[in-house]
Symmetry: C2
Subunit: 101 residues, 2 copies
């Protein structure tokens, strides 16, 4: 999302995660955000299922734990690229990932 737009929304009491996230977004952007949320949730779900820590999964993807944690809280500020890469590293096929759309 555009940073200026976000700042305006935040000044108006907007909080990341609200339904108001979608204010000012194009339908395409809103759709993309929903998908990102799905992917991020799936990553956490699979990680827990496997019983590995954020630290370990992050390391497997050349990331540090705090940066990994970020995609859980703020998936809208993460590119699909990293979500995709992490899901692949968890063993998901592109088809399986596509099913999350």
């Amino acid at each position: 999302m555009n940073i200026e737009k976000r700042k305006r929304l935040e000044a108006a009491g907007w909080v990341s995660g609200d339904a108001a996230d979608f204010l000012g977004m194009s339908p395409e952007e809103a759709r993309l955000l929903k998908i990102k949320l799905n992917l991020a949730r799936e990553i956490e779900s699979q990680r827990k299922k496997k019983g590995i820590s954020q630290t370990v999964l992050a390391a497997q993807n050349d990331m540090k734990q705090p940066n990994f944690a970020r995609l859980k809280k703020n998936p809208e500020r993460v590119t699909m690229d990293v979500l995709f890469k992490i899901l692949l590293s968890l063993g998901n096929s592109p088809k399986r990932i596509a099913a999350l759309f």
Copy 2:
């Protein structure tokens, strides 16, 4: 792709688009790149089919033509996010996009 890595490769005679693109990339990164290539090709294909110019399609996505042209030549330097958004704007459903993986 990492910019330093690319610089090293280019210094060694590497050219964007080569099979050598994959040198030094993780399997996940290579897979992601292939998918991006598919998406970029599909965008151009659909654009031509519709008979609209790069300038117009770019404008519909709040882009300028030269930046649009970039994703055709260097999809590895474009996030999935923009490829995705453009495909949505062309009327593709997420499922349809997923089928390109």
